[in-house]
Amino acid sequence: MNDYKMTIGIECHVQLNTKTKLFSGVDNDATDKEPNSCVSPVDYALPGMLPVLNKAAVDKAIQAGLAMNCKINLISRFDRKHYYYPDLPKGYQISQLYQPIIGAGVVYLPDGSSVKIEHAHLEEDAGKLSHFDGYSLVDLNRAGTPLIEIVSMPDIHSAAQARLYCEELHRLMIYAGVTNGDLYQGNMRFDVNISISKTDKLGTRAEIKNLNSFRSVERAIEYEYARQKALLEKGESVKQETRGWSDATGKTSPQRSKEEAQDYRYMPEPDVPPIVLEQSYVDEIAKQLPMMPESYRSIFGVLSLDNNEREAILNHPILAQRLAEACDKNSALAPRIAHWFSGILLAEENADKNFALGTADELLELSEMVENKELSSTAGKEVFLEMYDKKNTSKRPHALAKEMNLLQENDVDALGAMIDEVLALPECAKASEDIRNGEMKAIGFLVGQVMKRSQGKANPATVNELIKQKLTQ
């Protein structure tokens, strides 16, 4: 029996990191601020207040749209979306229903699949309610924060792909520089529409609102798939409704059914003139946009990295940029740099994203030192970490390696003397004897002794060769 096919569309809200709000000119960063301290009469919806569009938000929306390979609409307009809730001071949200600024586009996922973008529009965020025993408090600091809502086509067919899509959107928005991208702070939130069907005809969909982590997107879809499947197999039907997700219980639960759905009474916004753009203006923004993950992926193709390694690096635009620069200058030396990067990212709790990496030239210099056996690979990593961790970027890698006393000993005379000392040790007599008798596997023990004596700086290959010469000739 065929299994059910899932069809998923995702709406993603991205808070833009503009200096001021979308319409009020008030500070848009309410982090650690008192409730209702980033609020003007416009946000407060006093009588007679009028919205004045923040041009920076328009620029960011264009950047976001271009990052998703979207068409930018040269004329777009705002509309009012009406509903009553205490976190919505005007009784309507200024949004874009009929003519959004961002048109159709496509997002490429790391697994080679892609998701089409239907459109994305600019709108303002609402405030926040806190509920207490018998009363609720309203904080309007967030009211008026610019958002773009990105609406995907129903192109997604698994929980894993949905997660990849959300992660990729996050990456794109970070690359485009339009959001702080802190999911914990609600900088990006996801609404997921999901239906299942055995035929080509789509099933009835449920919408899971306000998911704020990649993990919860994935889990909620897995749960919803199982729930809908169980219903259908019992011969029941799926209700078209809005559902909420609880991370704690791992379940979705109904919030609002289709019958109770709100009529938003959309109306063109008469207070804000249309956004009219010149193509040349959009082109100029496109020119200044940094390279996107998809381009990096194709550049990094020559490095034969594994996917996890590559994606981990791509999560940090600065690392991707350095690696691409290094790749451009010397692709043979770049893989080692990639390993260093993914090493620090995968191994440690590297929340600190203020990487002090040095330039691509410095990283290549370090990589080349390992390549030329001036440094062991272990020592190379140590120097890299010194540069990264201690932000010790004032010295070139060679000077730094020297200072750290890690430069490999390649001097045959010096190594020869050191080998003679080691061979003279009583505990090495047996191994020396074996080698003279042709049992070459004992050589590893002797090389190890020399390495120890040199504090790891000796080039093991050279040592190996020298010991062989001394004992067999």
Partner: protein, 460 residues
Amino acid sequence: MKIADQKTKAVDLVREALEKAKQYEDYHCFISMNEARAIEKAREIDERIAKGEKVGRLAGVPYALKDNYLSPEGVTTAAAKMLDNFPAPITATAVKRLEDEGAIMIGRTNLDAYAQGSSTENSFFGPTKNAADPTRVAGGSSGGSAVAVALGIVEFALGSDTGGSIRQPASFNGIYGIKPTYGTVSRYGVVAMASSTDTMGCFAQNADDINLVMDVMAGKDDKDSTTLEKFWKDQLPAAKEKKIGLITDFMGDGVDPEVVRCVNEYAEKMKKAGYTVEEISIPMLKYGLAIYYIVQPAEVASNLSRYDGVRYGLRSAKAHDLDSLYQETRNEGFMPENQRRILIGNFVLSSGYFDAYYLKAQKARTLLIRAYKEAFEKVDVLLCPVAPAPAFKFGEKTDDPLAMYMEDVMSVPQSLAGIPSISVPAGKTKDNLPVGAQLCAWRGNDQMLLSIAKHVEEKD
């Protein structure tokens, strides 16, 4: 206009206005007075004049402010219970510009609540009486301001005009009133009614005073994205040869014969002053009212959404949960006419009806604007009555909303088109009631209208 100088004391101008306001208290022009602050400001201006300092173009001129303009002096009520104790923390741009030139607000005038109505009977504080006949309505919604000027309490007063709210009361009280080109004066700080036709203007006894006040208020405001770059000049243009079109569609059925007579007489005066007057028919105009009473309530319903009892203004004592907070507050705070428009507006915007009503109305609005454009290729100025009849008796139309809406039939087309339109005294009926003539032109030609009106008055 009397402006304070070395000889004329601002304090005297203000005191005189305040005394007259008291003398005509029965007319109920004002919702609240600004006596103490007005006198204090007048003193400051007199001191500056005494010291020989430069003072503004409206130094010491007392004026009346329609009570839907926000300013921290007193409370802004919009004649609604919803806001009957609302101290505004900001100053409307228009008010700020007047005050920067030394004008002194002596009181806040009555209006239909939220500027919705055509008689000032919809005020939470009771109606205003007509200056010519106290048994009749002042017109509306800017009734208080019109009567304050007509009675000579002040030489100018601010109004707002969304579909005739300046022009109709100007006509009913025999004074000048202007609804300028949409976007001429900032709407910032004025309680919104219907954003796409809300227009700030004023009343005065003559064209020059209107011109001066408008020159002070007009121009781009960063706080209102729909304002235009300033096109207003300080001097009125010289009267030139102009072709006037008398709109026949508004001179026939349903129009009081006395109104027709007065407007025809005004047309004769225009001819006497050297203008060419010809008849013109613009059939599209008769759809103006139908379009307006879809677009305007939609915007009203939207703009009044913010009065929810959550942040400021009235909060009903009967509220016990979120739904009842909204329901009871809005039930108590809005007048029946406000509620009627909210219902109509939400109906025409609701899904399933939007295309049939709102969208169709907007399309018709585009046709209406086109009809005006074509008319102005043939003539420079259009002439018609302001309203179908002179001021009516109190209560005459309060139970018949449609009859009340018909008051607006000749004034809303200009609002929908965003074109300038002025009401000038045309004559009186045999019952001695004032009748206005309405002159309108294409956008930006506001001052041409004033110069023509002035020229006609001078040649009369």
